[in-house]
Symmetry: C2
Subunit: 413 residues, 2 copies
Amino acid sequence: MTKIEEIGQKAKAASLEVAQLSIEERNRVLRAMSQALTANQAAIIKANQADLAKAEGLSKPMMNRLTLDKKVLDGIAESLEAVAELKDPLAGPYENWEHPSGFKIIKKTVPLGVVAMIYEARPNVTIDAAALTFKSGNAVILRGGKEAIQSNIVLAESLRNCLKEQGLNPDIIQLIEDTSHESVNELLHLREYVDVLIPRGSGSFIDFVVKNATVPVIETGAGNTHIFVDESADFDKAIPVIVNAKTQKPAVCNAAEKLLIHEKIAANFLPKIADALLAKGVELRGDKAAQAIESRITTASETDWDTEYNDLIMAIKIVKDVDEAINWVNAHTTHHSETILSQNKDNVAKFMQAVDAAVVYQNVSSRFTDGFEFGFGAEIGISTQKLHARGPMGLPALTTLKYEVFGDGQVRS
Amino acid sequence: MTKIEEIGQKAKAASLEVAQLSIEERNRVLRAMSQALTANQAAIIKANQADLAKAEGLSKPMMNRLTLDKKVLDGIAESLEAVAELKDPLAGPYENWEHPSGFKIIKKTVPLGVVAMIYEARPNVTIDAAALTFKSGNAVILRGGKEAIQSNIVLAESLRNCLKEQGLNPDIIQLIEDTSHESVNELLHLREYVDVLIPRGSGSFIDFVVKNATVPVIETGAGNTHIFVDESADFDKAIPVIVNAKTQKPAVCNAAEKLLIHEKIAANFLPKIADALLAKGVELRGDKAAQAIESRITTASETDWDTEYNDLIMAIKIVKDVDEAINWVNAHTTHHSETILSQNKDNVAKFMQAVDAAVVYQNVSSRFTDGFEFGFGAEIGISTQKLHARGPMGLPALTTLKYEVFGDGQVRS
């Protein structure tokens, strides 16, 4: 048995234990975890500094995501308290009904079992994922990136020690310390023990996971996000929405990447939005029609239209009408968040219905695609697939169902 | 572009059309399909006889499943009427709420898009799958087995002609006429066009699909189904339940395959259940402890414990207590249907909670795991996985959700 199989087997055994905890027990432990992390701040920051010292060459946003200082750790401790406050995703009332022959069927909500998370250089995901999977009664296997490995080891040990102190099996939360590609590969095929794998990271990494995994996967996060500015758009509202969606946090999956403009308003609208975006430091690329109107736009290549920049770049295309916009979006979307800026009810209804994405917006910045903004109180990721969960995933996405049937000797005739 | 890719592309285009039909339109077309199948009975029976003529060497149950006579076809036509009567799985009311900044979020139920079905020698699945995917607003790609290909071609053409006569795109329903392994293989990788693939067939075929597909899959149907007879079981009820679960229809996935008996009652119970099962022609295999009590039991091999017989064979094992039963079941279950026969509340609660299966029964025959018996009015398959759908899948399993957001220029700060 390999090291990873051993982790899987321990997780499966631990999943039966955590599934039996009452919501009072789960919440008590989450609060104890919050206190444990606060008590261990010095050790966590020391480990994080070791990671940061090795992290030369990472971009500034990556360095920011990697850093755990007192402020970040206080926030993480608070977030554990907040998870303890959330509604129990396993609580009833459950649907139940009686078969004509007299037996009773109860449709229960139960934990998934063993959740595996693969993620990159964000040590806060270690805590987020552990807290949300624990709250929903699951065991978790964490496989973070090598950039954050020292931080992750100390964070995971803090949580595991806390579980032990609370009289629980520490294997409810396990970290894979091996940061080689082989450990990911093995995890992708651990069907016997892993009930669902949630990868978080770049589009190409998630694509690799989806194509290679034999365990069930929930695809998350890739966001080649479009905004279509219809003929009827209200410019005074459209410009702030586009600027916000593009620049408020350009490195995230719900940031806008592409701008489609109705040809009838392009000559008037394009110079205005170009001014606003350039003033925020956005590099503009575009098709020939856009370049003909606005000389500050450079040429977009074929690959641009399918690229998630995660940066201050936006590609602009002129389209004939809402139908061309819909076809273009459906050909290039990553099914995350898509937007129409329009005052025309028919065009909005058409776009909402036909565009194949988790969230479709009218006249709102796509930056709102987020479990907290949607009112779920938590987020384990944003699903870009259609099975099981779609869009921002709160605690219910970490559960499944089970039919319990109680009878008295009924047989089928 | 290959032939299969072309089918995929046409299905994706057709999926946008079928998704826009009102429930009145969908039901009207389902009733027209029912009439079309009745009108075409002669041609269907002729094609089916061509399939049957080639089907030498198939077992009798397989021949039965393959046969379409007037009675079967009348039943299929009636089932289409019944699907038209079912509740619209896309109907609201939808959850909706307002963000603090004033925009409105609506959580809509929408079709999955393109559903692909791969199945074996049961031509009735062609109609079932087409009807249920159509009712739920999806396009479908059907890939039936070579044994039923002539029947499937005529059935699919009847439905496609009916769609045309109703003024709809016939590509809402497409059959892959190529019955080679290559066509299956290509379908497993058609990520651009297929939203979900539902395989139906043998456990080894479904395993092949799950391990090789890059499109999202819902695993169905493999059933290595156990019954545990606890110390406290009521023999008068236990014996009829076991006999029913094993023999009422042995070739199906919810038939019982394994019998675990508590050691304290084994000497008393085993001869009684052996009499009852042998009287029904069931071959009994077992472990040494079972053989020591009952000489009519032959030796079960290691592979027996993981084999779904789909036949009049049952393997019997003696266990120490409910805990050993639970551990054994969890090590060998296909997560379909598992049963405890017991009058002891604590043991029943433990078994219900710990056994990892879609349906867990107390004192009821597992033959009831079925969408119709569960009151769903339809069944597209029985999911043995935890994501998206679990257990008998009715029309809601063929839908997903979509968030529609309507605002007035809101941006995130």
